[in-house]
């Protein structure tokens, strides 16, 4: 009985502690943001209200939120998958871009009926991203090089490689470094196109959001209901335990990384096919990093990360709206958004560090269990 009570209180304390942490970080960010706004001579209450209204207050705002969230859902799920197998995949950024350029290339260079062309293009994105995750993974498994270092390196390589490709071999116009436009057969329709202008005017929201949500659902089921999902979860929770239980660590880990990279790459392709329809060099950086943050924010689980990505998208949409309607400088909004993310991510990061301590090396585990053994 006493034991039961103890475990229950302990569980409550954990859950409670985490939500309190997130709440506190939001509060801290809002406060610091307010101070900055006051210094700038703005009314914080009004700005926060406009921010929320911009993101959620209209159909247009909502659609922009969704469109902004779409790529982030992919990168957040990709990061979450990696986190869950015990890896910090900073390479999501590069994998996203490689997926995007692969999608752009197959999108414009191939001529096929839509039914084949579109899936093929999306597959190109997926495999591009997976390939980009392959090198750091192998380096880690075979040579023991930290994935954090190698994925940062592969991010740089991805940027330079794409700069080269869009400036030289794949260049379409002499004026700007960009690829030719993708064929209509490989495009993901925007809502405004589908409804012939009656729905979603002034937004670029596109059906890619459904692919994103499909990925979320599939990943959720994989984690909960499949053998490979169990392997990913267990390897992520404890290497030594999984090894002893007979799980093939190498295979599980490499598989997890490849799928993570693939999802990031798929996200890149979807973004190209739905919004940009051609690859502009440096079209928008930071999707991967923001996905990393969203995964941390979301507590490294599928649903949480998706919510965090949607939240993130909403904040960006709100910021855009603010700039248009209230003439508040965009930078101010960026600061506030950054602060919220910073404080919340710090919280999420802390949770991750705590978790990784359980996972890595028996030493850390020993210490924690000693403390448990009273």
């Amino acid at each position: 009985m006493r034991e039961k009570l103890r475990t229950i209180t302990q569980l409550l304390r954990n859950a409670f502690g985490r939500s309190i942490g997130i709440l506190l970080s939001i509060l801290a960010a809002v406060m610091v943001g307010s101070i900055i706004m006051l210094i700038e001579g703005q009314n914080p209450l009004e700005i926060y209200w406009l921010l929320i209204k911009g993101a959620l207050g209209s159909q247009r705002g909502l659609l922009i939120s969704l469109q902004r969230a779409t790529p982030l859902i992919f990168t957040a799920i990709a990061s979450t998958l990696a986190f869950r197998t015990g890896v910090f995949n900073v390479g999501v950024e590069g994998q996203f871009f490689i997926g995007a350029i692969c999608g752009a290339f197959v999108g414009y260079a191939v001529k096929l009926p839509m039914l084949i062309h579109l899936p093929l293009t999306l597959a190109a994105g997926f495999f591009g991203g997976a390939l980009w995750a392959f090198f750091p993974t192998i380096m880690r498994q075979k040579l023991g090089v930290s994935e954090i270092i190698t994925t940062i390196m592969t991010n740089y390589i991805a940027t330079f490689l794409i700069s080269y490709l869009t400036n030289y071999p794949l260049r379409h116009t002499p004026t700007t470094p960009e690829t030719p436009p993708v064929q209509p057969t490989a495009q993901l329709a925007q809502f405004v196109e589908l409804s012939e202008g009656t729905f979603g005017k002034g937004t670029q929201a596109h059906v890619g959001i459904f692919i994103a949500l499909l990925v979320v659902i599939v990943m959720y089921i994989i984690f909960k209901r499949t053998r490979i999902g169990y392997e990913w979860r267990m390897v992520g929770l404890s290497f030594p335990f999984s090894e002893f239980g007979g799980i093939n660590l190498d295979r599980t880990f490499i598989g997890g990384m490849l799928v993570s990279g693939g999802i990031a790459g798929l996200g890149g392709a979807v973004e190209i096919l739905g919004v940009w329809r051609e690859y502009k060099d440096l079209f928008a950086a930071g999707f991967g990093f923001r996905g990393n943050l969203a995964a941390l924010l979301g507590g490294q689980n599928v649903i949480g990360s998706t919510i965090a990505a949607l939240f993130y998208g909403g904040m960006e949409a709100g910021a855009l709206g603010l700039e248009w309607s209230a003439g508040v400088p965009r930078q101010l909004i960026d600061i506030v958004v950054g602060l919220i993310i910073f404080f919340m991510a710090a919280e999420g990061m802390w949770a991750f560090v705590r978790r990784i301590k359980w996972v890595r090396g028996s030493r850390a585990v020993h210490r924690t269990t000693e403390d448990l053994e009273v």
């Binding site: 034991e3 229950i8 209180t9 302990q10 979860r233 335990f241 002893f244 093939n248 924690t368 009273v374």
Partner: protein, 512 residues
């Protein structure tokens, strides 16, 4: 005789637990007083109150007959109380002398540490109490037994004459335990008073003058050691009758299941840890591997299970060569194991009980169907094992870290035994467990044997080896020192082998 320590009506509450509930403890001057109780009974809490680390909600403490108010640790130290904690509190990178004097260094002309004075002082104390030590060695280089000696010296250096030892033997080898008992006796001979916390009854019987038993935060009995016996003490601690010695029938050994020939295995430092070991284990018998820890047991088990390559030699289970198989394949041949690192390999602490229970069968029917898991089967599987193995848990969904050591071990046992193994390896299966859980684990091991499994029991506890094993093999420095039938083994004989001494000089008689 006067009373050294008297604690009256002590009450200490932690959120959700009453750790000490109206506890009375009385310790005579110059005695060795054993404080016993299962894990969580409140022993450490009571001693932390005495040592000024916890503040009781109620209660009175008297030292040498005078009521005292211990508000902080320094008060307790000033009253001549010293404590060696369950987890040592030494600085690994400091030397022995530095650790001993930390916080009360003798100074030489103001601010400079007087190293010579420190050295001499430490040597003097260590001579007086027979605590051999080299003051300039670094803690990180010392074995646990010696580190503990440093902790004791540290207390003595601060002029403690009431010394609390919190489960000092939990981390020691049999030899180190014997040395510690020698030290304790010399302390008492020098007029010190010792409070000795343990839940090992043999130790209580051997060393203590009087015993106080605790259960669930309350004192449930105080007695002179000469007027009690282990069975009675166990009943006090657990609150019901406990079988201290497993009852088991004569073994009915059948075919050879595990056959090991000339096995050589390297350890993590690339030294040869197992050197040419050969033995057999038959279906329906328990082979006990005795030996002081660190004599190749870990490497031997890891080589059989597949966590570590065998450098040379044969490992066969049911006439099938294991050395080329991976861990999963070996498990499929019929190998199961309760690993010695319960918290590291035995369970994934943050994973649910349910998930912990399927790591050896999640990939095959009935748990899985193709690539899919079957949640209802998994839930039923978990529920069944929790019931049959009496795992005390609020639900199958709580993380493993929420369970006590004993219940965690039941989870490991449940998983490994539910595979119906042909070869069942139990490595240090009861280390750190309390009596109730030990009894349970022992019963399950014997049951596995009676079901027809070949059981390989590896343990540093001689008592456990002797009470369970049908045959015993002693490992010393990676070699088999001797083998003997369980019924004919004596503690002295095994002890000699464990120390590397062969009497008849035929260590090769191993295995048969």
């Amino acid at each position: 005789m006067t009373t050294a320590v008297e604690m009256l009506g002590i009450r200490k509450v932690f959120p959700g637990v009453v750790a000490n509930d109206n506890v009375n403890l009385s310790v005579e001057e110059g005695e060795i007083h054993a404080l016993i109780g299962e894990n969580g009974a409140g022993k450490s809490t009571l001693m932390n109150v005495l040592f000024g680390l916890h503040h009781p909600e109620a209660g009175v403490i008297k030292i040498r007959g005078k009521e005292v108010h211990i508000r902080k640790n320094a008060d307790a130290i000033a009253l001549g109380i010293g404590m060696v904690h369950q987890k040592f509190k030494l600085v690994p990178s400091f030397t022995v002398a530095e650790n001993i004097t930390l916080g009360s260094e003798p100074r030489h002309r103001g601010i400079f540490l007087d190293r010579k004075a420190v050295h001499d002082n430490v040597m003097e104390i260590s001579r007086r109490f027979g605590l051999q030590i080299s003051p300039d060695a670094r803690i990180q280089d010392l074995p646990v037994g010696v580190q503990q000696r440093v902790e004791i010296l540290k207390a003595l250096y601060r002029q403690a004459d009431i010394l609390i030892l919190d489960e000092p033997t939990a981390v020691l080898t049999p030899k180190e335990t014997r040395d510690l008992f020698g030290v304790i006796r010399s302390l008492v001979a020098n007029g010190k008073t010792v409070i000795f916390i343990t839940h090992k009854l043999r130790e209580v019987m051997e060393i203590s003058d009087r015993v106080t038993a605790m259960r669930d935060g309350k004192v449930v009995g105080v007695t002179k050691t000469t007027e009690t016996n282990p069975t009675q003490l166990a009943r006090m601690m657990v609150g019901r009758d406990v079988l201290l010695r497993v009852t088991k029938t004569e073994a009915q050994p059948k075919d050879v299941v595990l056959q090991i020939r000339d096995l050589h295995v390297f350890d993590d430092r690339n030294l040869k840890a197992v050197q040419g070991v050969s033995f057999d284990v038959r279906a329906g018998e328990i082979l006990g591997i005795a030996g002081v820890e660190g004599n190749g047991q870990r490497e031997l088990v890891e080589a059989i299970v597949g966590l570590r390559p065998a450098w040379n030699g044969e490992i066969q289970v049911k006439a099938q060569n294991l050395t080329t198989l991976n861990i999963r394949q070996r498990r499929e041949v019929g190998v199961s194991c309760v690993p010695e690192d319960r918290y590291v390999r035995g369970v994934a602490l943050p994973a649910s009980i349910e998930d912990n229970l399927i790591v050896n069968n999640y990939f095959k029917p009935p748990i899985a169907q193709g690539p899919l898991l079957k949640p209802d089967v998994i839930a039923r599987h978990a529920q069944e094992l929790i019931e049959t193995f009496d795992v005390r848990t609020p639900s199958k969904d709580v993380p493993a870290y929420a369970l006590s050591g004993g219940n965690l071990q039941k989870v490991v046992l449940a998983r490994e035994l539910s595979a119906q193994p042909d070869l069942f390896i139990a490595a240090q299966p009861t280390r750190g467990l309390d009596i109730g859980s030990i009894e349970f684990v022992h019963r399950r091991i014997v049951e596995a044997r009676d079901r027809g499994a070949a059981v390989l029991l590896v343990s540093a506890e001689l008592e456990e080896i002797m009470s369970l094993s049908d045959r015993i093999v002693v490992l010393y420095e990676g070699k088999i020192m001797g083998a003997i039938e369980g019924a004919r083994a004596t503690e002295e004989g095994l002890g000699l082998w464990m120390a590397g001494i062969t009497s008849e000089g035929s260590p090769e008689a191993a295995g048969h």
